[in-house]
Amino acid sequence: MTGNLLDVRTLSRNFGGLKALDQVNLRLERGEILGLIGPNGAGKSTLFNCLAGNLRPTAGTVAFNGHDVTRMRASQRARLGIARTFQLGKVFPSMTVRENVLTGLGVARYGSFWRSVTGLVKGADHMDRAAEILRQFELEDQAAVPVTDLPMGFQRRVEAARAIATNPRLLLLDEPAAGLTHGEAERFADMVRGVRASGVTVIVIEHNMRFAMQLAERLYVLVQGRIIAEGPPDAVRQDPGVISAYLG
């Protein structure tokens, strides 16, 4: 048992002879926004996939909220309170915005077949909660719109809204500013701060350094599968190792 929400110890992941992650240690305090930065191919998404359960690590452990989740599948971790978005965006394309958000509200019912076949989706409480989340992500006007009719910036918000609908303790955002204009990224950052204010801890992978530096309170820098620096954005910015390896 630990006071940290997330405790990653000596995590490694190999793909054949390639070490995508090499002995990564990472801890996350409750209620913070943590940034994970690094150049292309640094292993950021591999680390996210190991945290969310989409990939099994080759070695090392992941403890979430005091539970060892290393061998758990992604769906089990989601039910424990780890939600995520994807680098390339993964909305449910045949659904409307509201339906996408509603799917996240079923997380407590997805554990067993019997619970899922005995619960109706469009109960009043679910609709109210969906409306609340849509407001939080400024999507109420698009609620009935097929999600694929919306531009990328809105789809990113829908994906984040669906993740928040699962009532997570930890939200993993994989390059949320990718493909967004500066203004859209700023608005998205405000929404992430709102999520944190509601008690959700956040990790953001970001290629956009400016976005990451503005949003995160603490940064980890990953280069070639290894953590080379950790600390507040200002300190990381001046770290000689980071400057030579990443910022140039």
Partner: protein, 297 residues
Amino acid sequence: MDAYVVSVMIFIGIWIIMAMSLNLLVGYAGQVSIGHAAFFGIGAYTVAVVTVKLGLGFPFDIICAAAVSGIMGGFLGLPALRVRHDFLVLATIGINFIVVAVFQYTPALGGAYGIVGIPPITIAGVEMLGTGMLIVVYGFAVAFFLLQAALLRTWFGVRMTAIREDEEAAEAIGISVASTKIWTFVLACAGAGLAGALYARQLGSVFPENFGFVESVTVLTMVVLGGAGTLVGPVIGAIILGGMPEYLRFIQDWRYVIYGLILTFLMIFERDGLMGRDSRLRRLLKRIPTGRRSDAK
């Protein structure tokens, strides 16, 4: 009503149940199967065995058929956990061939001679022949339709749709893809078993060749023609393709050529089927001012 017409309508009703059951798998959960006739056959053979050899009556024979097909579907759905898309299609074709071979080469199942002498359904001492059987079949079809509509309003309906849309995203919101696939196979195959049970009771005999690859393609064509992933689409597909060979007997020999042409043209011109989400027919129906016409999930 003319006995021939009643008989044709009974078989259309059975096809409707088959198509609806496959639609759960293909249309809602996105697991394409070209082996569904195997479970139709398992249901039919189960009824043949429990009625002819064990003397079981209605409705226990039907319950047994649906249960055995559903359980077998759960086991044979295991490949779906390992393979996706075209590989799953190939795996289901393989399952169909295996099941037919088991029917063919198992002496206890009559081998190539099948099982004959299956009695008609008897309710309260009355044999359900002709119109009686018609009522039974359409009673089951309506019940299956309503159950399916109710299922789609539950969280399990969301589970199925979500894995069809994106398995990784579904896992990320807590949906176990493995469990959802297995249960969908169970439900869909139980539906096929129900259809098979009614088929065996209506025909009075079962033979291995009645449950082969061609039947699987036929039912898949019904689903795709009507509109996979819609409630009424497979019903319409089953009515059209189930009735067509009977009323257009002159094309009987060309049936499979026509199925092939229908599939090819649909893929080019109306990919979502006649009642698909944005199909020409659905758009036309939407212009009619009265009644709700939208059932696409």
